[in-house]
């Protein structure tokens, strides 16, 4: 630990140490009373208080940056959803998936190709404009998560989506899953068709927009 000054040696030092929180209004009643009692008698602390106020204002006014990126977090959530399901009812499938070393080593080129396909479909749910608006339009909600075999060609992938009236909401996630939006009434049938495909490892319903 850094050198500790004895802040409680005198009432003056104890109060001086509390001034930042006195200015911020976060002291409890006892501390506040002690500060106020001492301030009346101590010109040094009165002067320090003025400087303290300036410092507080200046620091609080310093700019902070960073933009929220909800879509990035959504991708991680989708990855979690896949792993959760994979570790549960679909352990067998997931076992097969983990056993395939090529899965993790899915070539970047293949991913880039897939991204190009989905880029052409132009259906991302989260545009920057969406994030900037305070009253955004209802986002496209994913209701199916699907994982294709790594060797699946983009043509087949596109066909799987088009023939099933599925729109890409997100993906590939960290675990190479895709989140799809399908018409609610058709979801069960689409899931059955997807699971029947040889190039689909896993297809599961999700309730991305669920509220209690």
């Amino acid at each position: 630990m850094a050198k500790i000054i004895a802040l409680r040696d005198t009432p003056h030092q104890a109060v001086e140490a509390l001034l930042p929180w006195y200015v911020g209004g976060t002291l409890d009643a006892d501390d506040r009373a002690a500060v106020e009692a001492h301030l009346q008698a101590c010109p040094d602390c009165q002067a320090a208080l003025n400087l303290e106020r300036r410092l507080c204002l200046e620091v609080a006014a310093l700019p902070s940056d960073g933009r929220p990126d909800w879509s990035r977090l959504q991708r991680r959530m989708a990855g979690r959803a896949v792993r959760r399901r994979a570790s549960g009812a679909f352990a067998g499938m997931a076992g097969a998936w983990r056993a395939a070393p090529s899965w993790l080593g899915w070539a970047l080129a293949a991913q880039a190709a897939l991204l190009a396909v989905f880029g052409a479909l132009a259906l991302p749910v989260s545009s920057p404009a969406y994030h900037a608006l305070s009253a955004p339009p209802a986002p496209l909600v994913g209701n199916i998560i699907v994982i294709f075999r790594p060797e699946t060609r983009e043509r087949d992938l596109r066909a799987a989506l088009l023939t099933n009236h599925a729109r890409l909401v997100d993906g590939p996630t960290a675990s190479d899953a895709y989140v799809l939006n399908t018409p609610a009434a058709e979801r069960a049938a689409i899931l059955t068709r997807l699971r029947a495909r040889a190039d689909v490892v896993l297809a599961e319903p999700i309730n991305a927009g669920a509220t209690p």
Binding site: I4, E58, S87
Partner: protein, 200 residues
């Protein structure tokens, strides 16, 4: 390991927890896997946590990563919030722990013990009336503080947290918080007014 604990709401928590009740309600909905509630919480906390984490770790990219990690803990383990403290204290404490771990991967020393001994590089008094310059001095003085000092300063002045809450978040004695603040202020005030205003 990746399996979620079942999301059951603790009946003890029907009593209003301390702190912002709206945020506690968001947490209750997140326990029920409500994505909309989680998105609301994310948007509520992103600016605060970004600023906080930029003090804990240096690199913006790492701060972003830690921020996402923190919120994934909230998403995955919301039922661990026990209502004993404010939601913000709980979330900031998670972020701080994760930030500390990330910081160990960065080059920066954990604690800058010599920070108080180095002369401030604040320019002379001829520049002190220039507001932009004051701000610049302050930022560079903050930058020279250790992460822990900077974190205490920002939690106090920007996030308006009391010293007890800060001690909870940083998992340290309250006297450590006060001491860090005391040293940090001395250096920051010098930056504010130049070397002539050596008040302390």
């Amino acid at each position: 390991m990746l399996e979620m604990p079942s999301a059951v709401i603790d009946p003890r928590r029907t009593a209003e927890p301390s702190g912002a009740p709206d945020e506690a309600r968001l947490i209750a909905r997140i326990i029920h896997r409500d994505r909309r509630a989680f998105e609301d919480l994310y948007r509520l906390y992103h600016p605060r946590l970004t600023r906080f984490l930029r003090n804990v770790v240096r690199r913006p990219a790492i701060a972003e990563e830690v921020l996402d990690d923190t919120l994934m803990v909230v998403w995955d383990q919301a039922e661990r919030y026990n209502g004993q403290c404010k939601v913000s204290t709980w979330i900031f404490a998670i972020a701080y722990r994760k930030g500390l771990n990330a910081r160990r991967r960065e080059d920066e020393p954990i604690e800058d013990r010599d920070a108080e001994l180095r002369p401030s590089d604040a320019p002379g008094p001829e520049l002190q009336f220039d507001r932009a310059q004051v701000r610049q001095n302050l930022m560079s003085a903050l930058d020279q503080l250790s992460s822990d000092h900077r974190t205490v300063v920002d939690l106090t002045y920007f996030h308006e947290m009391g010293y007890r809450e800060i001690a909870q978040i940083m998992d340290c004695p309250v006297d450590t918080v006060k001491t860090r603040m005391f040293h940090a202020r001395r250096r920051l005030k010098r930056a504010l007014d130049g070397p002539l205003a050596d008040w302390l």
